[in-house]
């Protein structure tokens, strides 16, 4: 009975608002397109984002904006070459109401173009490319994760506060790495430090020994790196094996130690990194989120699960503001822009460019966890350089 009433109510509302016939019937489901990697290097990240998204939907009674959710999924394989075609499947063929994706920045950039051209709402649940909420920002483009700039900038501040004057940076020569080291440099040099050498190696090369030798010869006060995944594990092990860990502190963006601490073993112990999420956060939302996630999926959530969860929350906020009608895109966007998201990472709002304005935590590796040490910067907003909106 309840659902019938609901249908009648919503139909009346839709008619009252003059929506085109059939386009906004209340028995319509909200169509969510998940374009994430389910194979390849980032498969685990894609799964965590999906889990997080679905967990919020489940907590919300299996609905978003009061409607049943219908999922359309595509494996993006983290392959930028297939990104446009894959995004078109969801946007043009399936006509999803919202496109959620993805992990890989190159793929996300191509998706954003398809979404913008078709005026489809898009939420990025990971990819940190500064451009997405910078020069390529759009009214329909949102992000529930971070920019590469954010954690790096926070680490630059922390490194300067620790009294370091001379720092060497090292990363793969690709956009994420370079945006990260630039963010670090900006904050570090603003605070009076100097980045004496910026070293890069081709992605995904992991022969670090020549660079470790260079670092030993330069003897900087500290080293800042951006690496992730297997490369991160190898770098940290090599750094310790070269004897540098004892004499030159190593700092990184949080991805250095996320999901890689087991592989690092002893070498990872005590590493300081910055990220918008950490283990051991003292907030009730996080405790509840973790408990529920562990119960449902039989594993511990990570930052990617949080970003997926928040992508769903963000969309829910938009739908709620639009009376549950995904076709009223302007209202949905207004709702999302105004939302205050009660995230497991701590509450956040969105910047004008639609990127989270969030606390960045300083974390220390302990066992396989990244324990929060302090809040490196409160409510840090990406400068959104180049965004005209």
């Amino acid at each position: 009975m309840k659902s019938t009433k609901h249908i009648i109510g919503a139909t009346a509302l839709a008619l009252a608002l003059g929506a085109a016939f059939g386009s906004a019937q209340a028995d319509d489901k909200v169509k969510v397109g998940l374009m994430l990697p389910s194979t390849g290097t980032y498969a685990a990240l894609g799964a965590a984002i999906t889990n997080g998204f679905k967990q919020f939907v489940a907590e919300n009674g299996g609905k978003l904006g009061g409607r049943e959710v219908e999922y359309y999924t595509v494996d993006d394989e983290s392959d930028p070459a297939k990104a446009t075609e894959n995004a078109n499947k969801l946007v043009k063929r399936d006509k999803v109401d919202v496109l959620v994706g993805t992990v890989h920045s190159g793929v996300a950039l191509a998706m954003a173009k398809v979404a913008r051209d078709n005026k489809t709402l898009m939420i990025v649940p990971n990819a940190g490319a500064d451009e997405l909420t910078g020069p390529l920002c759009a009214p329909t483009l949102f992000r529930s994760s971070f920019t590469n700039w954010q954690p790096a900038y926070a680490m630059g501040k922390v490194a300067a506060e620790k009294g370091h004057k001379k720092v060497v940076t090292l990363t793969w020569k690709y956009a994420a790495g370079q945006q990260s080291t630039e963010g670090f440099k900006e904050a570090f040099e603003k605070a009076g430090g100097k980045v004496v050498k910026e070293m890069t190696l081709p992605f995904p090369n992991v022969e670090f020994q020549p660079f470790l030798t260079e670092i030993a010869a330069l003897k900087p006060d500290a080293v800042y790196v951006f690496f992730a995944g297997a490369g991160a594990a190898k770098f940290v092990r090599d750094y310790q094996a070269a004897g540098l860990k004892a004499s030159i502190p190593l700092y990184g963006a949080g991805f250095l130690t996320d999901g890689t601490l087991e592989a690092m073993g002893d070498a990872g112990k005590g590493l300081l990194t910055t990220l918008h999420y950490a283990d051991g956060l003292d907030n009730k939302k996080d405790a509840a989120f973790r408990l529920n996630y562990a119960k449902t999926y039989k594993m511990q959530p990570d930052v990617y699960a949080v970003q997926g969860y928040d992508a769903a929350q963000l969309y829910q906020a938009g739908l709620a503001a639009a009376g549950g009608d995904p076709s009223k895109q302007e209202a949905v966007i207004k709702g999302m822009e105004a939302a205050k998201i009660d995230s497991p990472r701590g509450a956040f709002t969105l910047s004008k460019a639609h990127n989270p304005v969030q606390d960045i935590y300083l974390r220390q590796a302990e066992g396989t966890q990244n324990k929060v040490v302090s809040t490196a910067i409160k409510s840090l907003a990406d400068p959104a350089r180049g965004c005209k909106m």
């Binding site: 070293m199 030993a216 003897k219 594990a233 540098l244 087991e262």
Partner: protein, 288 residues
């Protein structure tokens, strides 16, 4: 770059080159002698690394894992040769590429099902888990030096087997003229099986030795595959010595390229290859 740093970089280059030789030597044998383009060679390297991880976890010792792993890899190689590769000798390269590419996908999927997609570390054996102090701040891990020593020993052993033993003579003869060798009553199929098993075992051993240094992760094989082909081509297809020389050249080009020419370090190895091929299209040590 001061002199001490230069010496350490030279050591880095040698050590990297020797490890590359170990992976490439198996490829050059299989490619040169059997004429098979084996894209799955990187997968054998990956399998070796995962064997090291699984067996080290089970036995608690990397040395024991390698002692167990080598016969396993030999058997696995012989089995694969019997099951698949023995049907390929008379086929053209396209079919070889298709089969071996398919094998990459199969091996990666099996790896994913059996061990999962996580990155794992392998511990260095306790007696090698030390470092030598080189400068005020820098030390050099003993394990890396030990791996280099193993590579040198293997290079010499391979040379000895191929140049100085009866088996080596048959292998070389098979490389030159398969039909003639068969006419002389030598079981060429058995020789091919041995060579292939040896190639697989060399790649797996490289993976096992590299596991503690590189950690163990999905798709690790594809990273060494391309560089291995570069080495085989530079060195001259089928030449083990050529592979050694080429691996050292690549080691030096990569190491010093990264430090001295960081802007083009991604392509420096390929530039070297292009120059060598212009100079000697057959590779440095291709025998006539």
């Amino acid at each position: 770059m001061d002199f001490a740093t230069f010496l350490i970089q030279t050591l880095n280059a040698l050590q990297y080159g020797l490890l590359l030789f170990l992976v490439a030597s198996g490829l050059t044998l299989v490619f040169g002698i059997m004429g098979i383009i084996n894209l799955a060679h990187g997968s054998f390297y990956m399998i070796g690394a995962y064997l090291a991880f699984v067996l080290t976890s089970a036995t608690g010792s990397l040395v024991l894992a390698i002692v167990l792993g080598i016969p396993l890899a030999l058997l696995f190689g012989a089995f694969l040769e019997w099951l698949l590769f023995s049907h390929l000798y008379k086929r053209d390269h396209l079919e070889q590429v298709l089969l071996t590419y398919g094998l990459i996908l199969v091996f990666e999927e099996l790896r994913s099902l059996l061990v999962g997609n996580d990155v794992h570390g392998v511990n260095i054996p306790a007696f090698l888990d030390a470092s030598i102090r080189l400068t005020e701040v820098m030390t050099y891990p003993v394990y890396r030096l030990a791996v280099s020593a193993v590579c040198v020993v293997l290079a010499v052993a391979l040379y000895f087997v191929i140049q100085r033993t009866r088996l080596g003579m048959m292998i070389r003869a098979g490389n030159d003229d398969r039909t003639m060798v068969e006419a002389l009553g030598i079981n060429i199929n058995m020789i091919y099986r041995v060579v292939f098993a040896l190639g697989v075992a060399l790649a797996a051993l490289a993976g096992m030795l590299a596991a503690p240094m590189s950690s163990v992760f999905p798709n690790m094989g594809s990273q060494v595959l391309i560089i291995s082909f570069v080495i085989v081509v530079i060195g001259g297809i089928g030449s083990v010595w050529g592979a050694l020389v080429a691996a050292l050249i690549v080691g030096f080009a990569d190491t010093f390229g990264k430090v001295l020419l960081p802007e083009i370090s991604g392509m420096i190895v390929y530039l070297v290859m292009a120059v060598v091929l212009l100079w000697r299209p057959e590779g440095i040590l291709k025998k006539g």
